[in-house]
Amino acid sequence: MEGTHKHVRRARADVIYDTIIFIILTFLFLIVAYPLYFVIISSISDPIAVSAGKVVFAPVGFTLDGYKEVFKTKTVVRGFLNSLVITVMGTSINLLVTIPTSYALSRPDFTLKRPITLFYILTMFVGGGMMPTYVVVRNTGLLNTWWALVLPGCLGVYNMIVARTFFKTNIPLELMEAAKLDGCGNTKFFLYVVLPLSGAITAILCLYYGVGHWNSYFSALIYIQKRELWPLQLELRNILVLNSNVMTRQVMTEEELLEKRRLDALKEMMKYSLIIISSIPVLIIYPFVQKHFVKGVMIGSVKG
């Protein structure tokens, strides 16, 4: 829109405005980008240089020791693999549940459309809370299994609404009527007509659900006590958050102090690399899918 007015001489107030906006946005850009950049260059720098504050604009004393250390840590590798399995398993179940539901609810001729939609919308506003849910999860025998991370949230209402809006706007009713005339039932129509047409929405849902599973730690913290089953985020929490350098006023013996220092140095080294590695799955797909993510928000915003 601004482009069409280029031939008009900009007023002085507008020039000032544009300059200020340019400065503010560049400032914001740097504020967001620099910490991310700093993590990257620190992860490949000499740890001593990093802690001495010598790493500012470029890596100092290139080394990949941090990454090697991460790969040597068995718990992290196991957590990474666990998280991969949980994410794939969880996302598949999410898709299996969400896509048919949202298709059914997108059909204006579905008799139970209204009550079932209300049934789901209500869950956005009322919930049992942490403890009653915990009791139910425990009573259904999901404690200490990955099912506990997957089944309770198998249908995200927001994602369901996004998918429903997609089907409403992208699958014309005439198509269904034509198929019906030819003797095609709902199930067949869904499998052979709707699914092949829903690539875009499947991608969006995959990403929303996938990133959600990869990043969450709350359910695992509550429901999974067995360390072998921990997802990566819980292992990260142990390293990045719990062993942080908050000076708690603890009395330590000389030996403990030495041991702690050794571990500290080792951990400082690998923390930056760990941040990078744990974000890799999301980082890899992010540039390709950013458009889809934004599209999802826009579809969702149409219907609150």
Binding site: Y17, V39, V97, V126, P132, V136, T187, V241
Partner: protein, 349 residues
């Protein structure tokens, strides 16, 4: 005919009195497949039911599509709502939810009689109001600025970068914060020391914690929360801007008087939604940033519930605190919705 074999008391009144109805049965029998005429008569006797079932006949398989999701939602969402009654009981795992003893409001009284509740509610409220007050305007302003930005390609870059932190996990986010703010090796303290200041142990500093929590949240979320406003701004009709330009309005005036009012409905809607969850500050981040030293300001209702429920296994007490939290949330949601409904037409429901 099956009906004639039925005992008298079952068919009396229903069918005997409808001789006329029975008279047309053979015709009906021919029309439909055999054996359904029994249902036909039942339905004929109850027209309301008939219309519903007949409607369902065409799309009963759509109900099957919904069934798996509904079953899990009932089990893991609606049964826990029913299970909230453990807040009024003395829950013992052996006795189960329904077998445990009824204690009335004892758990609630315990919470309100303890010294914790004032602090908890204050911490929770402050944290969420502060987050909202900081994050909400930033997202709107960012969207307005991006929308009026002249350099399209640079704008795309800024958007891509500001959206990115949204996909960083809470743990990594908190890990980064703790790492940067670390008193010994953190960047921030390196800078402070280089400038001649004294080392600050940020994560242990009670006065700093809220600011760290809120502004790191703004850092992480501003880009992503601006998306919805940015999308809405695409709906502003260019005619308004053209007319304003002809009238000699500057860019800033146009943003203030055209773009901003256009965003009002979206803003109200999101504000109401946020108000509804004002007492349910995200557990994940507060818990990850918590340590013994900052507990006086970082302990919020969600982390308290977790500590008592999961770690101390005081399930009933913890549920009572959680239930109180949800009740306050609902009241706030309804109130804010009512107020905005009175002030404008933008109420949510």
């Amino acid at each position: 005919m099956i009906i004639e074999n039925l005992p008298d008391y079952l068919t009396r009144g229903r069918f005997r009195s409808r001789k006329a109805g029975r008279a047309v049965q053979p015709a009906r029998n021919r029309a439909g497949p055999g054996g359904t005429n029994e249902g036909g008569i039942f339905l004929a006797a109850n027209t309301k039911k008939k219309s519903f079932l007949q409607k369902m006949r065409g799309n009963w398989d759509l109900l099957l599509f919904c069934l798996p999701g509904m079953i899990f939602t009932i089990i893991y969402h609606y049964i826990p709502i029913y299970g909230m009654q453990i807040a009024f009981r003395n829950y013992k795992p052996k006795k189960g939810i329904w077998g445990s003893d009824w204690v009335g409001l004892k758990n609630f009284m315990r919470f309100f009689n303890s010294a914790d509740w004032m602090i908890l509610v204050r911490n929770t409220l402050l944290l969420s109001v502060y987050s909202l007050a900081a994050g909400f305007p930033v997202a709107v302003i960012l969207a307005l600025m991006l929308n009026s930005f002249r350099h399209k390609r640079y704008r795309k870059l800024i958007q891509a970068v500001t959206y990115a932190p949204n996909f960083i996990s809470t743990i990594v986010m908190c890990g980064m914060l703790i790492l940067f703010l670390s008193p010994r090796v953190g960047v921030v303290n390196n800078v402070i020391r280089a400038l001649g200041g004294e080392t600050i142990n940020f994560m242990a500093e009670v006065s700093m914690w809220r600011h760290i929590y809120v502004w790191s949240g703004v850092w992480q979320g501003m880009g992503w929360s601006s998306v919805i406003y940015f999308a809405a701004l695409a709906g502003v009709s260019p005619e308004y801007h053209e007319a304003a330009i002809v009238d000699g309005a500057t860019k800033f005036q146009r943003i203030l008087h055209i773009d901003l009012p256009f965003l009002a409905p979206t803003m109200t809607m999101l504000l109401i939604m946020n108000m509804g969850s004002i007492l349910s500050v995200g557990f994940e981040k507060a818990y990850a940033l918590q340590n013994d030293l900052n507990l006086p300001v970082s302990d919020i209702i969600a982390t308290y519930t977790y500590r008592y429920g999961i770690i101390k296994s005081d399930i009933s007490y913890s549920s009572a605190v959680g239930l109180m939290n949800s009740i306050v949330n609902s009241i706030l949601l309804v109130t804010v919705n009512y107020i905005t409904g009175k002030m404008s037409d933008n109420a949510l429901f």
